[in-house]
């Protein structure tokens, strides 16, 4: 209800960007997340990997303050997520209604609404800000396109621009790389470099273990429990991968080392709301 008066919590100096302590989420009788704890520093870029239904989306929703955990708590800059508007959740493309009658600028302007407050219309400064955000992701020239007419990579960039318009300091991206060609994926990684320059902390859920190992500071291996969290060498051990993926993964010895073949997603990904 904080928004009715338009006041949000301030960031506590010296506290970590994100502190997750003992998060457990239970839907009826199934355990989506089981006692997950970790900490992130400002500007870090972390990949979250794990099989379908491992609880990646659930974890993001709890961090964003959209879903309340059964047990445990989340602190963002020292406060619970519910008081912040600096946390952006970038949805999976499959979760968006692309036929909705809005164009690119409309979607990015949605990010400004938290700053605008009730009963106020966006002014010239907000429009300028939105244009700048579109420039950062290289989408200015498509500002008046209907969102359904964009390519997958462009759609993803619009939603990142929206998170920028929100002035988010913690971005949670749900499968932003899935279904994109290599060029579009590189485009997204270039934007992530810019986000790092702006000290934005980024968590990315992905199925692609190679991309995860190449482009991120730390990896989180999740399968309801936190199986591993750290640098790729520490996390991608055969023991841990087997623990996370079980029968869905084959480990093969080749002349160049060990190769992991995993289920590369999707379609049946079942994410409880």
């Amino acid at each position: 209800m904080a928004t009715l008066i338009g006041r949000y919590v301030t960031h506590q100096a010296g506290s970590p960007t994100l502190q997750v302590s003992g998060i457990t989420v239970r839907y009826n009788s199934t355990l989506a997340l089981d006692d997950v704890s970790f900490q992130l520093a400002q500007g870090e870029r972390v990949a979250v990997v794990g099989p379908n239904g491992a609880g990646k989306s659930t974890l993001f929703k709890v961090i964003a303050g959209v879903l309340h955990p059964t047990k445990g708590d989340v602190k963002v800059y020292g406060h619970g997520p519910g008081g912040h508007i600096c946390i952006a959740y970038v949805p999976q493309r499959s979760q968006v209604d692309w036929s909705f009658p809005v164009n690119v600028v409309d979607v990015v302007m949605m990010g400004r609404i938290g700053k605008l407050g009730l009963l106020r219309w966006p002014g010239r400064r907000d429009w300028d800000y939105v244009r700048q955000c579109l420039a950062v992701v290289g989408m200015e020239h498509l500002a008046s396109r209907q969102i359904g007419e964009l390519s997958g990579g462009q759609q993803q960039r619009v939603f990142i621009a929206r998170a920028l318009a929100q002035e988010a300091e913690l971005m949670l991206m749900d499968e932003p790389l899935t279904g994109l060609d290599v060029t579009s994926q590189e485009g997204i990684f270039r934007i992530m470099e810019e986000l790092r320059r702006r000290n934005v902390t980024v968590m990315v859920a992905t199925h692609d273990l190679n991309l995860a190992a190449e482009h991120f500071d730390r990896l989180m291996l999740l399968n309801h429990q936190l199986v591993g969290f750290g640098h790729p060498d520490e996390v991608f051990t055969s023991e841990r991968l087997m623990q996370a993926y079980g029968g869905h993964m084959r480990l093969i010895q080749t002349s160049e080392g060990q190769m992991a073949l995993s289920d590369t997603c999707c379609g049946k990904g079942h994410h409880p709301q």
Partner: protein, 289 residues
């Protein structure tokens, strides 16, 4: 030329036709505006259910007032607001699926309404008015109520335009921006409910959902911007109201049904010939490909 003018002006010589026309146009515009969200959020079934669930409330007012028209509006209003909150509450617990809950609830309420009205001797005429509307019976006072509440609905939709937009497009964003989304959701349900009550006399309970859904759905086929969709929807609603009443006057068919028929006709035109989403366009595109 002269005869065309006569054709247009003749019906307007009757004050009840003018009042009916004004009421129907207001209803057309208001319903299409609210209906935009009904269409975009897939709440057509909810709207239909809500309209039917009003019947017992109106029936109680009818029994208590001994057939007087005036209090019915307020009885309808009370029932509408209670019902929309009731449905919202019932479906929050997730113990039963939303459409199941709505189905059970609305059929039950509708039956209760018919049962109540049927206790009165010679009830059929009044029941017909509740079910299918009686736009030519609109009084001056009814017209004022329609205008005031219709205006109020449009004001609220404009005031919370960006919040309703975010809530409909991306509820998770609404949540991370810390919008009071529970409150906004109930506000939208209440607006739909009030729009239904305002329209009760024009098209009645049974055809109500058409006024909410059809003009907005027509507009959806013709544009890709939300504000434009609301404008086109409002225009389609208003045109249906006027066209329907002329149709009713000259062909001598029930007015509520005539309005809905014109509305449906406009939808079919858009469905076939819309520039980008129409059937005709996709057919020619396939031929070219």
């Amino acid at each position: 030329m002269n005869s065309l003018l006569h054709w247009v002006l003749d019906p307007l010589a009757y004050p009840f036709m003018v009042r009916g026309m004004l009421a129907a146009v207001t209803v057309g515009i208001v319903c299409a505006t609210v209906g935009t969200y009904v269409v975009l959020r897939g709440m057509a079934f909810f709207g239909d259910a809500l309209a039917h669930a009003l019947l017992p409330g109106v029936a109680v007012g009818y029994l208590i007032g001994g057939g007087a028209q005036r209090p019915l509006f307020w009885w309808g209003m009370l029932t509408a607001v209670l019902t929309s909150i009731g449905i919202g509450f019932l479906t929050r617990g997730k113990r039963i699926k939303e459409d199941t809950a709505i189905g059970v609830f609305f059929a039950g309420m509708f039956a209760l309404g018919i049962a109540l009205i049927s206790t009165v001797h010679n009830y059929t005429v009044d029941l017909t008015h509740f079910l299918f509307g009686n736009v030519l019976g609109v009084s001056q006072a009814d017209l004022w109520l329609t205008a005031i509440f219709g205006g109020l609905i449009i004001l609220i939709v404009l005031a919370f335009y960006k919040e309703f937009l975010v809530l409909s497009f991306d509820p998770i964003l609404a949540s991370t921006l810390r919008l009071p989304h529970g409150l906004l959701h109930y506000l939208l349900l209440a607006l739909i409910a009030i729009a239904i009550v305002v329209s009760l006399q024009t098209v009645g309970v049974a055809l109500m959902v058409a006024m909410l859904v059809t003009p907005a759905a027509t507009a959806y086929l013709l544009t890709r911007r939300l504000p434009v969709m609301m404008l086109i929807g409002a225009a389609a609603g208003a045109i249906s109201a006027v066209g329907g009443l002329y149709l009713s006057y000259y062909v001598n068919v029930a007015s509520g049904a005539a309005i809905v028929l014109v509305c449906t006709f406009l939808f079919i035109l858009a469905f076939l010939f819309a520039p980008s989403r129409g059937l005709f366009r996709s057919f020619t595109q396939r031929r070219r490909a």
